[in-house]
């Protein structure tokens, strides 16, 4: 797994600016007072327990949550006024795998709004999609049904759908959830490659050591931002306890940061009476899923 250095920020305009953002769904606050800046070329991991507002943060950038306070600006404009040029990859488990679409049909959905009222696609759109599918190594699967693929290939289908509109920003909801270790590394390599080609990436993850520790920067969330920065600075026992409500020792060794995840501790704490149970602190993601 490569460990890319964070991109140097020149005098570029920020890609995304969240300022004092409080947002949620149907009157229920899922995230409060979030201030966060994403620059072109950033690669950011969002960490936090279930229901901590990770997905909500992604969706706020896309302009599909209710904003109660503060503001969201994507390239200087509110995403509700102008749809941001961002690609979105949902969690694989939200996909209806029995739906009758082929790989190509699924990827071409990314072109829907480039030409919405014609039943066929422009030739140039088809070509772009074919190039991206080839680049992601799923070109030969174009006519297969989406359920006939492996986990990594399925992830690539929806990555391709997000990439056909050549976005500057890619938002991914748990791209490594539910896949095996090799697929996870493949997906992360692919994302690093895209990032090196200049695409800013924001992804949510549950995997601290395998994924988040290898990212240039991470944000710890639990309905608000608890810490943001490079993982070696953010991963401290204090911040992790605030985020997950569990004791998680941090080991620094040979330039590596390792977090000891001890889920059994949480269970023992729960029996004694939880100090802070993250599962009850908000259900924005459950509500959506």
């Amino acid at each position: 797994m490569p460990h890319p250095t964070p991109h140097k920020h020149g005098r570029e305009e920020p890609l995304v600016q969240l300022t004092g953002l409080t947002c949620g769904y149907e009157g229920r606050v899922a995230l409060s007072d979030v201030t966060l800046t994403i620059m072109p070329g950033d690669f950011l991991g969002l960490l936090g327990p279930s229901g901590s507002g990770k997905t909500t943060l992604l969706r706020s950038i896309l302009g599909v949550v209710d904003v109660y306070q503060g503001q969201v600006l994507v390239e200087g404009i509110s995403p509700e006024k102008r749809r941001p040029r961002a690609g979105y990859v949902p969690q694989l488990e939200t996909i209806d795998w029995s739906f009758p679409v082929t790989v190509q049909e699924a990827v071409m959905m990314g072109h829907t709004m480039s030409n919405p009222f014609l039943p066929w696609h422009r030739r140039s759109d088809v070509r772009v999609a074919a190039e991206i599918m080839d680049r992601l190594g799923i070109g030969h699967l174009a006519q297969r049904h989406i359920s006939e693929l492996s986990g990594g290939q399925q992830q690539r289908v929806f990555l391709a759908r997000a990439l056909v509109s050549s976005p500057r920003l890619l938002l991914l909801d748990e791209p490594t959830a539910g896949v095996d270790i090799k697929t996870r590394d493949d997906v992360m390599h692919l994302l690093h490659d895209l990032n090196h080609q200049g695409v800013a990436i924001v992804m949510t993850t549950h995997e601290i050591n395998a994924v988040a520790a290898h990212l240039p920067s991470v944000v710890c969330l639990n309905t608000r931002v608890l810490a943001a920065g490079p993982p070696e600075e953010v991963f401290t026992p204090e911040i992790l306890k605030l985020t997950y409500g569990a004791d998680m020792p941090v080991i620094h060794h040979d330039g590596l940061t390792l977090v000891a995840e001890r889920p059994h501790l949480r269970a023992r704490n729960a029996r004694r009476g939880p100090l802070h149970d993250p599962d009850t602190s908000g259900h924005a993601e459950d509500h959506r899923a």
């Binding site: 979105y88 795998w97 009758p100 679409v101 359920s147 509500h287």
Partner: protein, 287 residues
């Protein structure tokens, strides 16, 4: 064999049933893929209430029932989006209350019981030229909407939530869908009957799904199967003297069994192998 074709009422009924069957098959694809099979069932009952109300208020049947049906459909699609309420329960209330209103009005004003027998169970003898024109109009309109909105409808049916993120005006797509669905039910009522429309909406697309993995082919197949069932059902009903709606539905159920057998023999069950245990794997991680 050609004997029934000398009767004008039969030819009219045959045309009406073929178009209504195809129309229900076409719209049914979206109903089935969005897992809203119950909506067709509920909506046809709701439309029945609208039909009676428009009769009592001496409004035009098509206009009154369509407006009523459209509002119910809109209400239902809006309720299904809210996950906090039990959507199926809410739909049950909306549609059965509407149906009950129809029944209540009928029992209060006993004058028109006979024509509503046709509305409940379908009566091919009752198809007038006006009905035929209405069915043709809605069929053409539905085909145009499905062609023009092909990509929008596909993305919305596949994943409405993500479609919205990609800029698809899902609220408009849903409204258009509700309108076409309500119109379909209103014009098909005379041929198929309120109680049997649901089957005409669900059976053709499910049979088509068993035969193909492609969305485009599923639409074409489902429309074809629906039209064929309308045609075949009415033709058979002439000889065996059974209610038209019931014959059409029994005929399509038989075709469904054939599709199921074909699918099992071919050994490819797309629906069965499709759900990979992805949810389970990531669900464990949350524990």
């Amino acid at each position: 064999m050609l004997e029934p074709f000398q009767y004008e009422f039969f030819v009219r009924g045959l045309l009406a049933a073929t178009m209504a069957g195809g129309l229900c098959g076409l719209i049914g694809v979206y109903v089935v893929l969005r897992r809203m099979a119950y909506i067709g069932h509920g909506l046809s009952h709701a439309v029945f209430g609208g039909a009676v109300v428009s009769y009592v208020m001496s409004l035009n049947f098509f206009v009154g029932a369509s407006i009523w049906g459209f509002l119910s459909a809109l209400l239902i699609t809006l309720t299904t989006r809210k996950r906090t309420i039990g959507a199926d329960a809410a739909i049950g209330i909306i549609t059965t209350a509407s149906f009950a209103l129809g029944i209540a009005l009928i029992s209060r004003y006993k004058t028109f019981t006979r024509s509503f027998d046709a509305a409940l169970f379908g009566n091919i003898l009752g198809v007038s030229t006006g009905d035929l024109v209405a069915i043709a109009f809605v069929t053409v309109a539905a085909i145009i909407v499905v062609i023009v909105g092909y990509k929008l409808f596909l993305f919305t049916a596949f994943d409405a939530d993500v479609a919205r993120v990609y800029g698809v005006p899902t609220a408009w797509v849903e409204a258009a869908f509700s309108l076409i669905l309500a119109a379909t039910i209103v014009v098909s009522m005379q041929v198929l009957g309120v109680t049997l429309i649901a089957a005409a909406i669900v059976i053709p697309p499910i049979s088509a799904r068993l035969l193909t993995d492609s969305f485009k082919r599923m639409i074409l197949l489902s429309t074809g199967i629906g039209a064929f069932c309308g045609l075949g059902g009415i033709y058979i009903s002439y000889f065996i003297d059974v209610s038209s709606g019931a014959t059409v539905v029994l005929f399509s159920a038989a075709l469904f069994v054939l599709a199921l057998v074909y699918n099992s023999v071919k050994g490819k069950l797309p629906a069965a192998k499709a759900r990979r245990p992805l949810g389970k794997a990531s669900g464990l991680r949350d524990k």
